[in-house]
Symmetry: C2
Subunit: 240 residues, 2 copies
């Protein structure tokens, strides 16, 4: 295998472009770094090809060996890894019974953490809108590779809620006031949980579309929880 | 009030030193930035003095007006705020009924989020050891100022557990295997919950000191949750 040693090699230039959201969206591809994430991508057939600074071929996909210089151009990490995977997006049209709808989550760590919890608590599909890009590397890292184990869909949420209601999904909003306590809520098997912005929560338009609004009772000295924590608690409790 | 305009003014040099953990520990002081955090510090009498680029005196503590240059030297934020508070540490010796013991949490965002959830779910005292400094600015920011509403203690955990056991506290460890399910655990009113490292969890020494080990049941595709999320779920469920 020839080693790619030029930062201006045409493949290198193509891969590097995947750092841009617009290119990722157009090509339906994204980058992951490090053995753990590449290995998770491989388990679920998201892995298209790998780029490595080492000789060994660890995965059964097209493999490109590159120099450290080239790896530094492709990596987004302070300390570049030895292994990068180019992954395909997959969007299934069947959403399953348990759906998470995410609107205006802007912090990559929060969105990644939410994806990780969603897989832990049996969510089938996560729909993301107006938020940090799901295929941003920081999101993927914070998800600990769980992004490969859940159906991820990018589309506007309000029209989708109308469709879900027609299909008899229960729409559950998270709010801090005028709510049903999470400890007493009766949830249905087919449900969609709505999560809103870190600072502002859900906007009125989406809140008004909910069948039920749920809140997490807490000490009055604390105004709200971190959105990733709130999501984890709600998903865990509804999953019982 | 004279405006302090020199980055080498003796007060400025003293304040700037509080960016170092060793100095914070020695002087039992720490810095917070921005109106929200200063205001939280003021509510609970942690606020010692404030430093501001503006003329108005908003809090009833000694106030020092400084130039933008000086503020930039003191601030740790990319966009310096107009208001900094110098705060006193307080460590109460009475720990209350609900205690959280934190060992080897290294990510400031995680520790801050855990402090926020601890206040939300009525924890009285958080004991931190071998972790990122609680008075690190990123921790305080992620706590959303909740650090002022909980007793924070820095001390080794293993000897403390022995003392707590002698006082009849139930010691609850969080683990991913050989555990009691969080859904069935019987917790006592006097309890201490133990949280361990992001990647490794609790070490054997501490795990072996627990009266009960609890785990959060989850889909087998997901190995573990973010530690801040796990802490939130455990504290919420035990607080019912």
């Amino acid at each position: 295998m020839a080693i790619i040693n030029s930062q201006t090699n045409f493949r290198v230039l193509q891969w590097a472009k995947l750092k841009e959201k617009a290119i990722r969206d157009k090509q339906k591809l994204f980058i992951v770094e490090g053995y753990h994430l590449v290995s998770e991508a491989n388990k679920t057939a998201h892995l298209k090809e790998i780029i490595t600074t080492e000789k060994s071929k660890s995965f059964d996909v097209p493999t490109y060996q590159v120099t450290q210089d080239v790896m530094e151009k492709l990596s987004s990490l302070a300390t570049p890894t030895k292994l990068i995977g180019i992954c395909r997006r997959k969007e299934a049209t069947l959403y399953g019974d348990s759906i998470l709808l995410v609107d205006q989550i802007h912090h990559p760590g929060n969105l990644g953490t939410i994806i990780r919890s969603a897989v832990a608590f049996d969510v089938d599909t996560i729909v993301v809108n107006n938020s940090v890009d799901v295929y941003n590397q920081k999101v993927i890292q914070a998800s600990q590779g769980m992004i490969f184990h859940i159906n991820v869909v990018k589309k506007p949420i309000a029209p989708l809620i109308l469709e879900l209601k027609a299909q008899d999904y229960q729409i559950i909003g998270t709010d801090v006031k005028e709510c049903t306590s999470l400890r007493t809520i009766q949830s249905r098997k087919k449900r969609a949980v709505l999560l809103g912005n870190e600072g502002e929560g859900l906007g009125d338009e989406l809140l008004n579309m909910c069948d039920v609004r749920v809140n997490i009772e807490m000490n009055e000295r604390c105004e709200s929880l971190n959105v990733g924590v709130a999501a984890g608690i709600v998903l865990y409790c509804l999953n019982s």
